[in-house]
């Protein structure tokens, strides 16, 4: 997941170098969050202690810190949430303060109390604010008291699935089921009927228990088609509080923010002020003495409802990884955040598209294609968005960029030029005199290029760095340095600048090219090879409906079938937890279970066989 942010104006907060600071602090976090804190500490001359799990031993934040302490094995409950081990690390390293970052223990009142008992400063809001805001049920009650708009719903803990159904019916569908201790979309589900409520209750409480060690849930009215807008607040110990401008975070996937924008083009000055004032009122009510974020849902009539308050602030382009880093299945899979600025929205978006084209990511799946598509989507450009944007625009899931005719011609021309460039380079040997290399003299390369099962006729001729390419009759000129080792290739097609990436290339003509954010698979053959290729037989492919393979690396949480069981199409076969999400794996067809190749607790890799059906 990338988080990215478009912004028109953003100030930076300086600090007074003469101010008294700590000598050494411990950062109770990992990844890009810990890196950011360590970087700031370095600027301020403060020594840093990193904590890490055993699988994170060589990650970037550990290398950056002055000291590092291993606090346990990979699962967060045994490492980053392991208070005893972290307290031990604090004592051992004599850190005077702890910066919790966000997530993990940042909103844990128990942890804050332990620190206070040991006289270690907790850098962040005090225990009262955490207690008040860290718990969704309490925070909602508090917000109500401070006269902040809240969402209608049930303000208590739900005992079991049947009670969940009863409450859901009272509130009226659709409802949102969420973990009381949760945040960041984990343990959160929408239910539209009784059946979904039961399922949602079960899955959410499991996720909540594994992520937060607290399986309490609450249910509230689900605001359909809302925007997600948050207001940043600053408070101090003297009861002062003020609000900064908002950020629009409506583009979300599974309640995880994907694109953020400031300012929101939806809010008018009046709504902005009303939201800001309520945010400040809430901060005052909890005696908030730090930087934080108050999240609101805003409906199409600009009614806004308090969602939650996070005891943190976000800014910066961050990355907690470098080449060789592991992106573990145990933690948040964010690779990088990207922020671009511009004098206006158009410029900021253009810069973002360019920046996305220049990301070189190998070895992991990523969402550059989606991000790039969102920021050029006409609804997004107009500002017509809600938290349902992605599911509205891509009801069947995102399938990649849809090429216009001229874009397709550009892609085919670039791919063909690349193919010929590789072919020509294959003849460039350092001459040895015993046997001269006699290069074939081909003025026009007649090619047959297959894209999306359609075959295109291409004729390409080369003249230095320029290729003249005829794609299905239209002529294009393609110019580049044709550096065939560079991961990024800057290409000019009839004067239009494009950045492409050749991700793979096989001798048999298959090539995958990233173009406009999306990866396209093309097959390029010379005309002769294409003609002869017609005689090649179709290969029989594996019937995938009878085998269930793991779609990603993860841990098997539960297996609900055994050999011989009859299963219906769509029935849950097993649950895999990956990237901190539980994924229900369902049967591809109705049949009988032939064999089960996994059991609860197994770690599985992408493509591993889980269950076979007859």
């Amino acid at each position: 997941r990338q988080c990215l942010m478009v912004s028109r104006n953003l100030g930076s907060v300086g600090y007074d170098p003469n101010e008294k600071t700590f000598d050494k602090i411990l950062i109770a976090n990992r990844g890009e969050i810990a890196c950011r804190v360590i970087r700031t500490c370095k600027k301020m001359g403060i020594k840093t202690v990193a904590i890490h799990s055993d699988v994170d031993a060589s990650s970037v934040h550990v290398k950056m810190a002055d000291e590092a302490v291993c606090v346990g094995p990979a699962p967060t409950s045994k490492s980053y949430l392991n208070m005893d081990a972290i307290m031990e690390a604090i004592k051992k390293t004599r850190a005077q303060a702890v910066h919790p970052g966000y997530g993990f223990l940042s909103e844990n009142k128990e942890f804050a109390r332990c620190l206070a008992a040991e006289d270690v400063v907790f850098i962040g809001p005090d225990t009262h604010a955490i207690q008040a805001m860290g718990d969704k049920i309490e925070s909602k009650l508090l917000a109500k008291k401070a006269e902040v708009n809240t969402i209608p719903g049930f303000d208590g803990v739900v005992k079991d699935a049947e009670e969940a159904v009863r409450i859901a019916r009272e509130i009226g569908y659709p409802v949102m089921i969420k973990a009381s201790a949760g945040g960041g979309g984990k343990g959160m589900r929408i239910a539209w009927d009784d059946e979904e409520t039961r399922d949602g209750f079960r899955l959410s409480s499991q996720e909540a228990a594994s992520s937060f060690g607290d399986d309490r849930l609450l249910i509230e009215k689900f605001i359909d088609n809302p925007r997600h807008i948050e207001i940043q607040v600053l408070g101090d110990k003297h009861g002062n509080a003020l609000w900064l401008n908002e950020r629009e975070c409506s583009i979300q996937r599974r309640n995880q923010k994907v694109v953020e924008e400031a300012p929101s083009i939806f809010l008018d000055a009046e709504t902005r002020r009303a939201m800001g004032e309520q945010a400040v009122a809430l901060a005052r009510a909890v005696k908030y003495s730090s930087a934080g974020t108050v999240e609101f849902l805003v409906d199409s009539k600009k009614n806004f409802y308090f969602l939650e308050m996070n005891t943190r602030l976000q800014v910066r382009v961050d990355s907690g990884i470098q080449p060789g880093s592991d992106i573990s299945i145990y933690y948040d899979p964010m690779i990088s955040k990207l922020i671009t600025y511009g004098s206006d929205r158009t410029e900021a978006l253009k810069r973002m598209a360019d920046a996305l084209d220049n990301y070189v990511i190998r070895g992991v799946t990523h969402n550059i294609a989606l991000l790039r598509e969102v920021i050029i989507n006409s609804r997004f450009v107009k500002g017509d968005i809600s938290t349902k944007f992605l599911s509205d625009v891509y009801p069947d899931g995102f399938k990649g960029h849809m090429l216009t005719k001229s874009e397709k011609n550009q892609l085919l021309a670039i791919a063909s030029s690349l193919f010929v460039a590789f072919q020509l380079r294959a003849q460039h040997f350092q001459e040895n005199s015993r046997m001269p290399v006699i290069k074939p003299d081909i003025a026009n390369w007649e090619l047959s290029v297959k894209l999306h099962d359609k075959v295109h006729t291409v004729v390409a001729s080369n003249n230095g760095s320029m290729f003249s390419v005829e794609v299905d009759g239209s002529k294009l000129n393609v110019t580049s340095t044709w550096n065939l080792a560079s991961p990024l290739l800057s290409v000019s097609v009839d004067g239009t600048q494009r950045t492409v990436q050749c991700l793979s290339r096989e001798a048999g003509g298959n090539m995958s090219i990233q173009f406009l954010g999306t990866v396209y698979k093309v097959n390029i053959l010379t005309r002769l090879a294409a003609e002869l290729n017609k005689f090649m037989l179709e290969k029989v492919t594996e019937d995938t409906s009878s085998v269930l393979r793991s779609p990603m690396p993860g841990v098997v949480v539960a297996v609900s079938v055994k050999p011989g069981d009859a299963v219906a199409e769509g029935q849950e076969i097993c649950v895999i937890e990956a990237m901190k999400m539980q994924n229900s794996m369902t049967a591809g067809k109705t049949g009988t279970v032939k064999s089960v190749h996994c059991q609860a607790g197994d770690t599985v890799g992408e493509g591993d066989l889980l269950v076979e059906l007859e």
Binding site: I442, L528, L532, M536
Partner: protein
């Protein structure tokens, strides 16, 4: 008067002579026309092989014709054919009949170029008598092989033959032997490559087996000594052609074939790609192709690629990809004895042979199959001046009765022999474990490695700490402390480095830059061995 008569007579003689000449010229001309026609006819017929009906049948099987294959393999317009007019000489069983004579017989031979470089080719024509091998067929192949050896250029064979021409009897068998002899003569002199594109059975299999590389086409090619019917009658086993000698069998189980491709087109495209790695002969240095990848490129991901726990696996192919030019690696036998990786790549444009232990499979140990796989590859590289780069992470030889009974001692010795014998530049990188005898084997300093590097994660020892302590401190109580001491002493690169058994301990990210630099220096390496007829590798 007399003089006048003489003159007249002479004139008459002259006129007679002139008319005779005219007649002679006329007859010559008509003869020439018919010969030209015959030549054209023969050429036309030759181009059609066994005729359109058989060509269609070949296509229906998903196979290309002998000539179509050549046209894809070679640069356009570069094919120079020889022996298009050769016909078989068999007169028995009605073979002398015109309908049983095909110009060129059942094989197309000649020379051409792949990416501008010379190659000799023969392509068996299944449409003529099922591609069966006649005396004439063999003679055509031998002719181009002889020339390839004298000129110094590789031979590629595209095999698609039903076997011996039974009508010719021993003549056909003699033909096979003639080819075998040339395969052996050419071995180590010019690269020889076989691509099996149809059946190849009986005696015919030994020609591919004698060549340097045997590739197959999936689903349409077979290699076996005897077919399923004979197997059934002799051993009573039920087996299909595909199970007995298909591409999967030979690339995963028998190790007979080095790689398999999807179909004819894919195979020929890949063969062109592969050919670019090879020198033309043993007289030529490894080819250097234009390279865009900076030779001093740092590879930061290598600094963290070896896991901290020494029991945890990682993929050695990832290391190879990130070190070589443009991540291009042509792996040989990728699905056989996967605990060792061998294949071709380029460093700063120059072809290199890569050998690496694969920790992901059987912990990267050496066993019978991986030793033989590695040894054959190392010997090819040495024969053709291709520098060797060896990545070592080996916990030792695989123990057990299966291995001992199978002869791991003599098979393991092959790899040891091959590395020791090799005089090409040898660069070795120990990424993690280098234990026991396997340490010695894997292109160690002791076997004249030119440059031997250790990464900081290297552990060079007789065996792992646990096993070592169990032996040294048998019966002692404080085993854990002893184990810790052993790890402290030996589970690092220092014991080898202080003795000069590794030349340097390098930062993994600098591996590519170091190797490229070394290969430039080692390009002029020369080693003299004492005279001998030939060496005696433990076969």
């Amino acid at each position: 008067m007399a003089a006048a008569l003489r003159v007249a007579a002479a004139g008459a003689r002259l006129s007679v002579l002139a008319s005779g000449l005219r007649a002679a010229v006329r007859s010559l001309c008509s003869q020439a026309t018919s010969v030209n026609e015959r030549i054209e006819n023969k050429r036309r017929t030759a181009l059609l092989g066994g005729g359109q009906r058989r060509i269609d049948a070949q296509h229906k099987r998903g196979k290309l014709t002998a000539r179509e294959r050549i046209s894809l393999l070679l640069d356009p317009g570069s094919f120079v054919e020889s022996d298009m007019f050769v016909e078989h000489r068999c007169a028995d069983f009605g073979m002398a009949a015109d309908k049983n004579k095909f110009p060129g017989d059942s094989v197309v031979t000649g020379r051409g170029r792949i990416n501008g470089r010379l190659v000799y080719v023969f392509s068996q024509d299944f449409t003529v008598f099922g591609g069966s091998l006649s005396g004439a067929h063999a003679q055509k192949i031998c002719k181009i092989m002889d020339q390839a050896i004298t000129v110094g250029a590789p031979v590629i064979g595209l095999n698609d033959s039903g076997g011996a021409r039974i009508q010719e009897g021993v003549e056909s068998l003699a033909g096979y032997a003639d080819i075998f002899l040339r395969n052996v003569t050419a071995s180590g002199v010019i690269p020889q490559i076989s691509l099996i594109m149809g059946p190849c059975a009986g005696g015919a299999v030994y020609s591919p087996a004698l060549t340097d590389f045997t590739f197959m086409v999936k689903d349409t090619s077979y290699l076996f000594i005897t077919g399923p019917d004979v197997v059934k009658s002799v051993t009573n086993e039920d087996v299909t052609q595909e199970e007995l000698g298909g591409a999967k069998t030979h690339t995963t189980m028998s190790g007979v074939a080095h790689r398999a491709f999807e179909n004819d087109v894919d195979a020929l495209c890949n063969l062109r790609d592969f050919f670019n790695y090879l020198p033309l002969s043993s007289q030529d240095p490894a080819p250097i192709r234009e390279c865009h990848d900076p030779s001093d490129r740092l590879v930061p991901e290598l600094d963290t690629i070896v896991p901290l726990e020494s029991t945890k696996a990682y993929n050695m192919v990832d290391i190879i990809h990130s070190v070589v030019d443009e991540r291009e690696f042509f792996e040989i036998m990728p699905n056989y004895a996967k605990n060792i990786i061998v294949g071709f790549a380029r460093m700063n444009g120059r072809t290199v042979g890569i050998v690496g232990n694969q920790p992901k499979v059987a912990s990267g140990c050496l066993d019978i199959n991986s030793s033989v796989k590695g040894a054959r590859f190392v010997r090819f590289c040495d024969a053709f001046n291709i520098p060797l780069i060896t990545f070592v992470d080996v916990p030792g030889f695989l123990p057990g009765t299966a291995q001992e009974y199978g002869g791991i001692i003599r098979h393991g010795a092959k790899l040891l022999y091959a590395f020791a014998e090799a005089t090409v530049p040898k660069v070795t990188v120990i990424t993690r474990k280098a234990y026991g005898g396997a340490y010695d084997v894997m292109s160690s300093k002791h076997l004249c490695g030119d440059t031997n590097y250790a990464w900081p994660t290297a552990e060079i020892a007789v065996m792992g700490a646990k096993g070592a302590v169990e032996i040294i401190f048998k019966g002692h109580e404080n085993v854990e402390a002893a184990q810790a001491e052993y790890i402290e002493k030996f589970a690092n690169p220092f014991p080898a480095a202080v003795r000069g058994f590794v030349d340097d301990i390098i930062q993994p990210s600098s591996t590519r830059a170091r190797i490229c630099c070394d290969l430039d220096v080692l390009a002029s390496k020369k080693v003299q061995r004492p005279w001998r007829k030939h060496a005696n590798i433990p076969l």
